[in-house]
């Protein structure tokens, strides 16, 4: 496994989950969601790398649709407007808080992350492969 460098950029983004870009779309495909998720990270390539590390030992999660469903559930709506993105963000934060409370943690490249964060990274990794 190659050394992961500049992890702090990725983790800083995970940690804050702020400054998210708005994506306007009338047809929220996985590509659209993937693009939005990648925009959460200041270094999407590194996020994707960490995501790939997470998915390495978890073949059952190597599906963008499945990860998106696990992360966002019914919040994925037809219209990804500002209000919808706010809902998704709140859901991510709530998931992260729940994971910390329930000790639902995973170790990715040595970093102890919540399941929600790791899946988010996994989604970044998979959305890269969607060529958006």
């Amino acid at each position: 496994m190659p050394a992961i460098t500049r992890r702090e950029l990725v983790l800083g983004a995970i940690f804050t989950l702020t400054g998210m870009p708005t994506v306007s779309s009338h047809w929220p495909s996985l590509r659209t969601v993937g693009r939005w998720v990648r925009g959460l990270f200041s270094d999407a390539a590194l996020a994707a790398h960490l995501g790939a590390v997470y998915l390495e030992g978890r073949p059952e999660e190597r599906s963008a649709a499945r990860l998106a469903e696990a992360l966002f559930g019914s919040e994925l709506s037809q219209q990804l407007d500002r209000a919808a993105l706010d809902r998704l963000t709140r859901r991510l934060r709530a998931g992260r808080a729940r994971d910390f409370h329930n000790d639902d943690l995973v170790v990715v490249g040595g970093w102890v992350l919540t399941r929600t964060e790791a899946r988010l990274l996994g989604l970044v990794s998979l959305s890269r492969d969607l060529s958006v």
Partner: protein
């Protein structure tokens, strides 16, 4: 008074009590008994200052090869306080209890029994009042994190100056009229009656070849976690397995405190929220260290040992095995001792050169602190296979050297791993930052144990138990089956807890002095 062995060679000294070893335990007991107008002889193998020829008597074999026996304890007045760091903390209540998930756990005394002696031990280490609850430090407790008690608790240490017992108490020992500290006098044998039911004298030797003996009513072994067992095993004239060793327990159950580099925390925001944990002057009136450890509930639920985590150094980049290993190698170079794991550390540095250079560059350019490394320490599970025996090789006095055979199990690694996961969950939940584990902790093998630091916490080899088949001394530190032989020091600990042992050594020594006083 202080006398050189040459002045008493060839004689037989008489005293109410003979204390073997002038380390912190021996000095504490001698002072206590002297106050009661008893005559005390203290035998010290070393002198007032470090002497390599005396120190050489400590050489022995350590099967793990990670710390040499002759540099992890010291032969001179004051014992190993000659080099200690001064960290003081009492054991937890749970450390004294029998834990279903820790075989051989449980003391025959409780913390409540020891509490008054902990209070009395504080001034011996030049510490203020006994205050180890966070709530007793308002300047700290107001800023400390609100931890989930189901997972994590705070650990608090007082920092002794550190008290060098050989210096601080030297004049008092010199002036004391009823204490004779015999320097450069090594106890070589505890001579008993024909039934090995009582000690009749201690044989003493000097490096120059002279001999002497001491006769006393009571004898107290206070020469450390390895030497206490070694001397009992060597006293095998009447009973071949060694004195007090009818059940083959002497020397077994050796314990230490492994200190792994456990990883670190990256703090993307303001580090001030973490100040109580890295600022050791934060309590204003005293130097204290605040750390973390698994709560009682977590230890029970996860079936782990007691442990703690404290801040190591500041990080300007991010936690990295490469940087951890570089620090280890620098420490080894400073001490002039290269442990067996040195090659692994060198490999770690090379494998993580980018991390090492980045951290080095950011330090050199005074970049802001972005996180901290963590040092963990765990107790080791009591294990009868971990033992001190007599080696065939002999020292300059003709005594068999000590041979330490021991290993660490998965339980210790899992304890550190789970403690770090609890810490990671809490620091994440509270919005402090993200923890990175040293990845060796996640390997299901013994590689993690090449990443440890040791601080000479030798414990357990004459453990305390009401049952002579499970312990060498009883609840009063008297050797089972030997009427007038007592043991002081961490060799009587049945379990180790997370705490550095000196304060408990002193508390037990004071308790032992109270017990012996009416009998001599």
């Amino acid at each position: 008074m202080l006398v050189d062995f040459r002045e008493v060679a060839g004689t037989q000294l008489q005293a109410d009590a003979c204390v073997i070893g002038a380390g912190p335990a021996g000095i504490a007991i001698a002072r206590e008994l002297a106050e009661a107008s008893r005559s005390i002889v203290v035998l010290e193998s070393g002198g007032l200052d470090f002497d390599p020829s005396a120190q050489d008597l400590c050489r022995g074999d350590n099967s793990r090869g990670d710390f040499p026996l002759h540099t992890s304890r010291f032969r001179l007045v004051g014992g190993t306080t000659y080099i200690w760091g001064g960290w003081c903390a009492p054991l937890d209540d749970i450390d004294f209890e029998r834990r279903a998930w820790v075989p051989y756990s449980g003391w025959p005394i409780t913390k409540r029994d020891l509490l008054p002696y902990y209070h009395r031990a504080q001034p011996l280490c030049e510490l203020g009042p006994y205050r180890y609850e966070l709530a007793e430090w308002p300047s700290l407790s107001g800023k400390a994190l609100r931890l989930d008690p189901d997972k994590l608790g705070h650990r608090l240490w007082h920092l002794s100056p550190p008290t060098r017992f050989g210096q601080v108490y030297r004049e008092e020992l010199r002036r004391a009229t009823n204490i004779r500290v015999v320097l450069r006098a090594t106890a070589t044998e505890l001579v008993t009656d024909e039934n090995a039911a009582a000690v009749s004298e201690v044989r003493v030797a000097g490096l120059g070849g002279a001999r002497a003996a001491v006769r006393a009513r009571s004898y107290i072994l206070a020469c450390g976690g390895i030497e206490n067992a070694r001397l009992m095993l060597a006293s095998n004239r009447v009973e071949a397995p060694g004195l007090g060793n009818r059940h083959d327990i002497v020397g077994r159950f050796f314990m230490e405190h492994p200190h792994p580099d456990a990883g670190g925390v990256f703090i993307p925001g303001d580090i001030e929220r973490f100040r109580p944990y890295f600022d050791r002057g934060g309590a204003k009136s005293a130097r204290v260290v605040l750390g973390f450890g698994p709560s009682r509930q977590a230890q029970e639920r996860l079936r782990i040992l007691n442990s703690s985590v404290t801040v190591g150094g500041a990080l300007h980049s991010e936690p990295s095995e490469g940087w951890d290993s570089l620090v280890k190698l620098a420490r080894a170079a400073e001490e002039g001792y290269w442990p067996a794991s040195s090659a692994t550390h060198a490999f770690n540095v090379l494998r993580n050169l980018d991390d090492v250079f980045r951290e080095g560059y950011l330090r050199a350019t005074d970049a802001p602190i972005r996180g901290f490394t963590f040092t963990a320490r765990t107790e080791t599970a009591p294990n009868p296979a971990n033992r001190v025996r007599l080696a065939s090789e002999r020292d300059a006095l003709g005594q068999n050297r000590a041979s330490l055979t021991w290993s660490l199990g998965a339980r210790e690694r899992v304890t550190v791993e789970k403690t770090m996961m609890l810490l990671a969950a809490e620091l994440g939940r509270l919005g402090i930052g993200r923890v990175r584990l040293n990845e060796l902790l996640l390997q299901n093998d013994d590689r993690w144990s090449g990443n440890l630091s040791w601080f000479g916490h030798h414990m357990g080899t004459t453990r305390m138990s009401d049952d002579p088949k499970l312990g060498v001394v009883d609840a009063n530190c008297r050797v089972h089956g030997v009427a007038n032989l007592y043991v002081a020091g961490s060799s009587v600990f049945p379990t180790a807890g997370f705490a550095n042992p000196t304060l408990t050594i002193l508390a037990l020594a004071l308790r032992l002095a109270d017990h012996i006083r009416p009998t001599i």
